[in-house]
């Protein structure tokens, strides 16, 4: 994405997270962890968990009985984001609405269930209703099906920058006229196989084993949830008199290596963002290289919003929550950078314009 392409506008926000299902910005203050009860653990284990809720009470008419939690959250979050825009989808050409979904682990709970059915009954007697729902793209398909959206439907991922990539792909579809409106979603659901992997690999923060209140910077605590943004081409967003632009995405750069500072300076074209929102990649100590890069680009006086533990716990798919949390935390305007780093020189940077 180059700086001279027309920007796109974020006009709606919805989410399902430990904060609950919400349209628009998130409430101030950090969210708390909860004990894991969905499976048997060897002692206390905590994570940032979505508390059970009745989807139909949030989105009237929504039936989720046959869906896993992840797909249900995608439906609720997308519905809340659309509601937040004020758009009536019945007044929109839904063949021009895209869905771009980012996930690191896909429908991992149902993948577990499918393995369980194979373990119990043999591979020749697995559950046919579960199999199609194990696909990583199933939640995005449900979003298209529920809202009747017939534009492009894409599920993407990246070990560190899945959320950023979803934003970039959606912006690309809008800019090239392949859609007028895009619903961008990113997130994951926490399952036993995933949490156990983190635990055996030694990645969990001590706070996962502790009932005391959580310090803000206490390392990696796994999270779950889905964030949804509605994006429109600026032309379209400007036409709607009731549109509320949260941010415009002006340009982006992402690479797995190279010269991050040089590439980002080239992208921002000499301007210095007044604010940098540090995204994370889910691994411990993710903040420091990102912060250092932010200071290298914007100087020591730049305002830097550090990653919040909840969004850090969404490995690779936390970018949307990082952005929503930053927009929710304080009144901000001007140019901002959504920035993440990974490995020796991997980075993702999106240049935003905040109204």
């Amino acid at each position: 994405m180059t700086p001279d392409l027309p920007p796109v506008t974020i006009t709606g926000i919805g989410s399902v997270s430990p904060y609950g299902p919400l349209a628009g910005l998130l409430p101030p203050g950090p969210v708390q962890t909860s004990p894991i009860t969905a499976w048997t653990t060897a002692g206390l284990r905590r994570a940032f968990l979505v508390q059970p809720f009745r989807a139909a009470s949030v989105v009237p008419g929504l039936k989720t009985r046959r869906l896993d939690r992840f797909s249900a959250w995608a439906l609720v979050a997308s519905s809340l984001a659309i509601k937040d825009t004020g758009i009536d989808l019945h007044q929109v050409d839904r063949s021009r609405v895209a869905v771009v979904f980012a996930t690191a682990f896909g429908c991992v709970e149902l993948t577990e269930a499918f393995y369980l059915s194979a373990a119990a009954n043999g591979w020749n007697a697995t559950d046919p209703s579960t199999f199609p729902e194990t696909l990583a793209s199933a939640p995005a398909s449900h979003v298209s099906l529920f809202h009747g959206l017939r534009g492009p439907n894409v599920t993407v991922s990246n070990k560190y920058f899945a959320g950023e990539n979803a934003l970039i792909q959606a912006a690309s579809l809008l800019r090239h006229g392949q859609a007028d409106l895009a619903i961008v979603l990113a997130g994951d659901a926490l399952a036993q196989t995933l949490y156990s992997w983190y635990e055996v690999a030694g990645l969990l923060s001590p706070a996962c084993y502790n009932s005391d209140p959580l310090p803000e910077d206490d390392g990696f605590i796994p999270s779950e949830g889905v964030a949804a943004l509605v994006m429109e081409s600026c032309d379209r967003g400007n036409i709607r008199s009731d549109a509320r632009p949260y941010a415009k995405i002006r340009s982006a750069r992402v690479a797995e290596g190279g010269q991050p500072a040089e590439s980002i300076r080239q992208m921002i074209g000499g301007s210095v963002p007044s604010l940098t929102v540090c995204s994370g990649n889910g691994s411990p100590c993710a903040t420091s290289p990102t912060t250092a890069l932010a200071r290298e680009i914007s100087g020591d006086d730049a305002v830097i919003i550090l990653p919040q533990a909840f969004a850090l716990g969404l490995a690779g798919t936390g970018a949307l929550f990082h952005l929503i949390l930053a927009l929710s935390s304080q009144p901000i305007n001007g140019q901002a950078l959504l920035l993440a780093t990974a490995g020796e020189s991997g980075f993702a940077a999106l240049l935003l314009e905040l109204p």
Binding site: T2, P128, T134, A136, A138, G151, N153, S157, A162, G316
Partner: protein, 403 residues
């Protein structure tokens, strides 16, 4: 007038298929009418069926911090084949983008033991790394790590349309200027998880499949990978690259109809075909051949036939269509990429491949179901069509040489 900065060209094709490694190998096998589908036993205890397997896949060297699943290995060998055949030094690709599709990820590395006690399973030697290969993003990482590519990297999973969607997104990336070269494609292996899943849905034909036949009974699974080197015509000219084909148009739609079944009239797919032709600036009369999704399942093939009737209505002659899944099965997340490779091969050879075992085609007056002998004719434009669970559709239009 052609805008060389907005014209996307194919400058390399890498293939791993049941025929072996390379596009030449694929072409020789298919043109000779060789079918790779064969009776298969033992892919999991109790499995008996028909599949197409890749034999003699070179194994990638691993080190203490890496584990490459079969999906990773297929993809990496195909990427190396594409780069190797381009005649360019590996360093050319250092800042390239990677868009790799798959649906299976590292499921080949995980057994049912994980379900009963995941923590105990991960404590077995090597299993932490096996588990780490599970995310579908791992395949793009494997290609990047093994090929020394550090540009933007995107993994794609859109069920059986994945491979074609990866190519479409890569084309968008090039238009955005996100990279000057993008390696785009798909990869998927045979594995108990997917074989069991399609078996549970009763979607498998126990014998070699018969796409578009009135008596079709289902699909056969195959495995493989294909990777295209994509760049702008301006970039290709600057690098003096060999242009194998032009990606003239691409489009993606969703049926928004059902989680597994296609919309019966093929409306979403017909829209996708129409949009791709609009982007290419061509009419239905100009498309000389369609490489169909053609799985051989009752629902897919009738919906697809209906889509062709709608999208090509008004054509002077029936549209020539064949399904090359009748040669090497349905390779899931790799299918769209492999079939893009076959479509490019068809344009370059002018040899339109028939659907194998098609004796009693679906009645569809607007479609010329290719069967019997290979049909030879100049082919300036051809289309590759993909669909998948969840209603995803993707269509790619390729043309011969520079415009």
């Amino acid at each position: 007038m052609t805008d060389i900065h907005k014209t996307i060209v194919v400058t390399g094709v890498g293939v791993v298929s049941p025929y072996g490694i390379g596009l030449d190998c694929l072409q020789a096998g298919m043109l000779s009418g060789q079918c790779c589908l064969a009776p298969t036993k033992g892919l999991y205890p109790g499995f008996e069926g028909t599949t197409a397997q890749v034999r003699e896949l070179p194994l990638l060297a691993e080190h203490s911090s890496s584990r490459y699943s079969r999906t990773d290995q297929l993809a990496t060998v195909a990427a190396q084949d594409a780069m190797g055949n381009s005649g360019r030094d590996g360093s050319t690709f250092r800042e390239s983008g990677i868009v790799m599709a798959n649906t299976v990820g590292g499921l080949t590395e995980i057994d049912t033991g994980i379900a009963k006690d995941p923590a105990a399973w991960y404590r077995r030697p090597g299993t932490l790394l096996q588990g780490a290969s599970y995310p579908f993003a791992h395949v793009a990482d494997a290609v990047g790590e093994r090929c020394g590519i550090l540009g933007p990297r995107v993994a794609v999973s859109v069920a059986c349309a994945s491979g074609a969607v990866a190519i479409a997104l890569a084309a968008n990336m090039l238009l955005d200027g996100a990279a000057s070269i993008v390696l785009a494609g798909g990869s998927d292996p045979l594995c108990p998880f997917t074989l069991s899943g399609f078996n549970s849905l009763r979607a498998l034909d126990p014998d070699p499949c018969s796409p578009f036949d009135q008596n079709r009974k289902g699909l056969n699974l195959g495995e493989g990978s294909a990777v295209l080197l994509l760049e702008t015509l301006a970039g290709a000219a600057a690098r003096n690259a060999n242009v194998m084909a032009v990606l003239r148009g691409w489009a993606m739609t969703n049926d928004a109809f059902h989680t597994t079944a296609p919309q019966t009239q093929g409306i979403g797919l017909a829209d996708c075909i129409r949009l791709s032709m609009e982007m290419a600036g061509v009419s239905g009369d100009e498309i000389g051949y369609v490489n169909a999704h053609g799985t051989g399942t009752p629902l897919n093939d009738i919906a697809e036939a209906n889509a062709y009737e709608t999208a090509f209505r008004g054509r002077k002659h029936p549209i020539p269509v064949s399904s090359t899944k009748s040669y090497f099965g349905h390779c899931l997340g790799a299918a769209g990429a492999l079939e893009a490779a076959v479509t490019i091969m068809t344009i370059r050879s002018g040899a339109l491949l028939p659907t194998l075992r098609l004796t009693d085609p679906i009645e569809s007056p607007g479609v010329d179901w290719l069967r019997g002998e290979v049909k030879r004719q100049p082919l300036p434009l051809a289309m590759s069509v993909s669909s998948g669970f969840g209603g995803g559709n993707a269509v790619l239009i390729f043309g011969s040489g520079p415009l």
